[in-house]
Symmetry: C2
Subunit: 335 residues, 2 copies
Amino acid sequence: MRLKTLQNLGIFRMSILITGVAGFIGCNLAKRLMNEGHIVVGVDNLSRGTLRNLSEVKNAANFHFIETDCADRPRFLAETATFHERFPITEVWHLAANSDIPAGVSDATVDLKDTFMTTFNVLEVMKALDIKVLAFASSSAVYGDHGDRSISEVSGPLLPLSNYGAMKLASEASISAAAESFLNKAFIYRFPNVIGVPATHGVLLDFVNKLKANPSRLDVLGDGTQQKAYLHVDDLIEGMLEIQSNASEKLAVYNLGAEDEGVSVRNIAEAVVASVSPNADIVYGVEKRGWVGDVPKFQYCLDKLKKLGWTPKLDSKAAIKRAIADIVEQEITLK
Amino acid sequence: MRLKTLQNLGIFRMSILITGVAGFIGCNLAKRLMNEGHIVVGVDNLSRGTLRNLSEVKNAANFHFIETDCADRPRFLAETATFHERFPITEVWHLAANSDIPAGVSDATVDLKDTFMTTFNVLEVMKALDIKVLAFASSSAVYGDHGDRSISEVSGPLLPLSNYGAMKLASEASISAAAESFLNKAFIYRFPNVIGVPATHGVLLDFVNKLKANPSRLDVLGDGTQQKAYLHVDDLIEGMLEIQSNASEKLAVYNLGAEDEGVSVRNIAEAVVASVSPNADIVYGVEKRGWVGDVPKFQYCLDKLKKLGWTPKLDSKAAIKRAIADIVEQEITLK
């Protein structure tokens, strides 16, 4: 078993647990933390994440994979405890969640189980194993619709429109109570739309695949005016590590994103069409929102993040451009 | 079966479901709604509520009791559906929750089940049975510690200190998403400390019973400087009905309380001692907080409520005075 080798090496810095490690952000984070010399123990139920996403890390000496569902607490605890006994885990990055927002709107139990109970169980496991540092992937969806207002970390009210947003807020709330009770340090990162590869879901992948299926026409949910900020996954990870190094609060809540007005769905559709199938017609819906729970417009205030001296390398437009190129390579060139 | 009689009478206005009907607020609300001519179907698992609390209503023609746990969804749905078929329920007042905050801090599964899953299941039952109006007993605990700031409904951040507060916020979040998806109208009432009889928990009952057990000494958790606003249960119910008649928002979030600086634990201890055992010594702890998750100071901004033209009859001090008299009667005079 590779764990024995690890123990003999004795060269690694910390042992870090990542939930949702086989997902889009999880696999990128694992690579980055392993490059910094940490042992990564990754948990995933492989329902949406795939082993293919782990191809670059799975054979490394400092990676250990546990295939289990965080929503299955007894098994999640048992498997984590076994690893923890030999390589004490000092922090957890909890990324596991449902990523199909409309699915969670039609059936609330999806986000209950995958977005909230995973968090609840992560906290229970941390309490049981005395692990004190948690980083959590929250979402701009906790804010709901604030219209044209720029949204800071202390903005209220928090009235999410989707069960996904609701269960991310529920997760934040549980983490907040845990920080008061038994955690030493918790980071709540409110993600914007994050893009890059390996793309597993989201508007870019959706558009690219629609055009692959029908190169002459792209149907867009909603009227295309929805406008959101986007962050490239490399910047996202950079930003989280920067916050983790510099934020002094015990419970550090941060909006993460680029400080710009974002990009409209119309601009995204045009950019994807230009890249994949320049002669395709783009056909828009009539609704302001793409689906129930979608927020038509959204802008972060990033003053708190900027105070730490960090800004992303790519703004929303540049991030979209790079991600389209990456995804076209993933979906078309490489297939 | 009494339901048959009800059907024959045909004189009642609406059929309303109350969860947690055998608790302190639930039984008072049932009385009030029945007095207005509604049919009340009350649900309670009798874990903290008692049938004794329902003695005044249980034999009325327009009351029907279902002993079940809202956390047990299949049974809760089946029993509610049976009633709903004959007397279509038009609104739900969801009050069922854990009321022992420290218990929920030591074991997070208490509030998960009793404070959050009850709400989640109420929403699932409402969706299944096509019931469109929900009133929910939320709490000031969703806000966490805002220091000396006056807290309005749009104040942020929402970082609860206890699992109770976390699961009330989780409930609000789920209701917010449901209002976007399938509810016609939802009321979120953020309760302050509510007092009155039948007292089942809380600082007043605690103090009265401590003095009953030892008339010469009252031990107080915390240093006595914690200061909170209190609302008498009669005012609370009055206020909720007022909001329900007048609030125009689809999702109406309201702080409920009296606009005063509140009453300190020290003042409450002195008032209870004066009433129950005037020669007792009061012994304080050293902590600012009474327990993990307790908020030392708390003040509501009630402008939104006042705009509807409503203020409570009793301020915090008057409410405390009246509730002490009521509880002394309940615990000492009547026993």
